[in-house]
Symmetry: C2
Subunit: 406 residues, 2 copies
């Protein structure tokens, strides 16, 4: 069960964008596993991809196509990652783009491919091609919810966020969906996320908007520390709203729009952690007082990746010594142990490098018994901060990943 | 159950060293939890300690004392790490040293303290002091086996290795014991290890011998990626054998002795992994063809720390895509994916960045069904290599660490 994840709310259509979802039987029969997303002519599209050196065939192809033209269609399959599949994998991804392009009447390089699922098995191209007509026939402006289901793998719930803003008197919509539950330690973007707005935004500004948002959202979550081979996040600006084209990064309208995009990315990123494999707790780790943001995030990730910390959270055990040990091994130069403080929720547990004098085990147990827990670390050596979200490590994590291919 | 860990063999006495073990009831009654080790006058002693910034009070004190004098006694308690205990923890460790020094008739700074167990709770000084007379009374040259039990925490079996060599016609003995099962990703030494030889070795050479051995043994294992606050490894040379003092690092006698020490450290380090918390598999990860040793170990640790790889091993599932993804995220510059090969045992699973053409799932399953598995990665970009040992991630890992303080 996801931790504190709200049921999918209404996902507002974004003018110009249509989505169609099909059941192609890629891994299991009867499951929605193929999504086509239509982008109108003239829209701009920004994207970020995994930093994993072994990136998947669709990532290689999508990067190449994006450099050639603005995309008109996105093609997403689950059940197979088409990663570790070499030259054949590239040919397979290309075939899928070519066939969808024929069906819709565009160039193959105007179709961006995305895959997620098991690594190292050949892409079942025939099944995907057979599913394309159904997905195409279902293209609809209200297809977001279906698509949120269609991109799920080990996710137990769909993830989508939608906002409607008024900018200078013009209505603007932003809607996004994401998937991901395991192999989550995004290093540019998360597994798969698609966000669209009907605002018009200049291409470079759109990329900046996405990169800024991703840095503090998808790049600040971890379930298991494993960076996927298939991470991708796309932001589309269709320009179909009445709002004049946004071109100035210093303008108030850009700032408001960018804030809304960031908020959506943060909510989607948190949704991934709330539905992390086997998660029973949602943990926020805030590190303040660092000499740099990188240093703060290193400390936060040392805590977030520690199996000992994560199993203590699972057990609701305020075993703060494990948090202390994780901070200590994070490799911060010139860490002044005498200055460091650590909080569990509002309770100070570590002060001057030791247990806070007035801390009691009962206080710790109370904080740890909640589903959502905040860990606060203050390094007291600078003005920077970073926040990372993660979940605990449970029996179900082991079960899900031991049984994944069976 | 430890994986392939042999029952404790005979641990030969080392002339000049005596050990005494007591049950002081530190965490649980009736359990051996206090060890005193006596070192003869004139012996040399080398040591390495944790790199965790939050190192424990006994580590701080042991470092300080070592700089002042050659130690005459080591005092080890389990059940409490005396870490994260601030100024009081330092006073407590000091009190224990002072009281043992009074009992045995030496200076307090000739006693090195070591603690292992739960972090952040006050050291139960009274219990330790009450146990000292029993440990002292039991001091015996044949006390190694008892001591191997006495330093255990979540270990399910004692770990000890002993060798007798003939060097230039002189009989030399080396005996060592170690403990550790969780919070194992040593970064100078493992949790606790004590090795002694009756050879006479010059102090600097002894430190070099230990550091070289630790680099390829205790510093090459991981259970959970968490570097302990209390890691310590000690090598004692009593000089009571008839072998002339070893002073030349280029001599054949030093090389032979150093090789034997390294072999003992490797066997003890492997024993810790074989008895890793919840371990059902013993995994050897060999990375070859790197531009440097550091690069090779980074790749090996990326694999060894991946919860996805570790749960696949637990399930005996040849999910080699997870290994590929871990290599890809390890951050190696200029990795030529087309060149990389990955083997499971003798079976080539990845070639030219994709599944090896003649690999079959049946082959993978056969390798994975064994208790001991070798993963071989060849980066094909240099002549360096590194080997890391680890274990899998099981339901029992979660259980042990969720229940640790209950």
């Amino acid at each position: 069960m996801p931790v504190g994840l709200k049921p999918l709310s209404v996902l507002h259509p974004v003018a110009g964008v249509r989505l169609g979802t099909a059941s192609a039987g890629i891994k299991k029969p009867g499951r929605r596993d193929l999504v086509v997303m239509e982008i109108p002519p003239g829209a701009n599209c920004a994207a970020v991809f995994t930093q994993n050196a072994f990136c998947a065939a669709p990532v290689i192809l999508a990067r190449r196509y994006l450099a050639q033209a603005a995309p008109r269609y996105l093609l997403v399959n689950t059940g197979n990652a088409n990663a570790g599949t070499g030259a054949q994998g590239l040919r397979d991804a290309e075939t899928c783009c070519v066939e969808l392009a024929k069906l819709v009447g565009c160039a193959a390089h105007e179709v961006l491919p995305f895959s997620t699922g098991v690594i190292g098995e050949p892409l079942p191209v025939e099944k995907i091609l057979a599913g394309l007509p159904e997905a195409y026939a279902k293209l609809s402006a209200t297809g977001w919810e279906d698509a949120a289901y269609g991109i799920m793998t080990t996710d137990t719930a769909p993830k989508g966020v939608s906002r409607q803003l008024t900018l200078h008197g013009h209505a603007v919509t932003i809607t996004g969906i994401a998937k991901g539950s395991g192999m989550i330690r995004p290093d540019m973007a998360t597994m798969l996320a698609y966000i669209a707005t009907d605002a018009a935004v200049a291409p470079q500004l759109l990329q900046r908007c996405l990169s800024d948002a991703v840095r503090v959202s998808f790049n600040r979550i971890t379930v298991d520390g494993d960076t996927s081979t298939n991470d991708a996040c796309v932001l589309i600006a269709t320009g179909r709203s009445t709002l004049p084209r946004v071109t100035d990064s210093a303008s108030a309208v850009y700032q408001t729009l960018a804030s809304a995009v960031t908020e959506i990315c943060v909510e989607l990123a948190q949704a991934i952690v709330r539905d992390g494999e086997g998660a029973t707790k949602f943990i926020t780790i805030e590190v303040n007082g660092g000499a740099g943001e990188e240093e703060c995030s290193r400390v936060a990730y040392a805590i977030a990746h520690s199996p000992l910390v994560k199993t203590a959270f699972f057990a609701s055990d305020p075993n703060w010594g494990r948090i202390l040990a994780a901070v200590g091994r994070s490799g911060i130069a010139d860490l002044d142990l005498e200055q460091v403080t650590i909080h569990l929720g509002e309770t100070c547990i570590v002060k001057n490098g030791a247990r806070a004098p007035d801390y009691t085990e009962a206080q710790g147990r109370q904080v740890m018994s909640a589903d959502e827990i905040r860990v606060g670390v203050d390094l007291k050596c600078g003005a920077h901060h970073a926040t990372v979200w993660t979940c605990d490590f449970s029996y179900d994590y082991v079960r899900i990943n031991a049984e994944y291919r069976t």
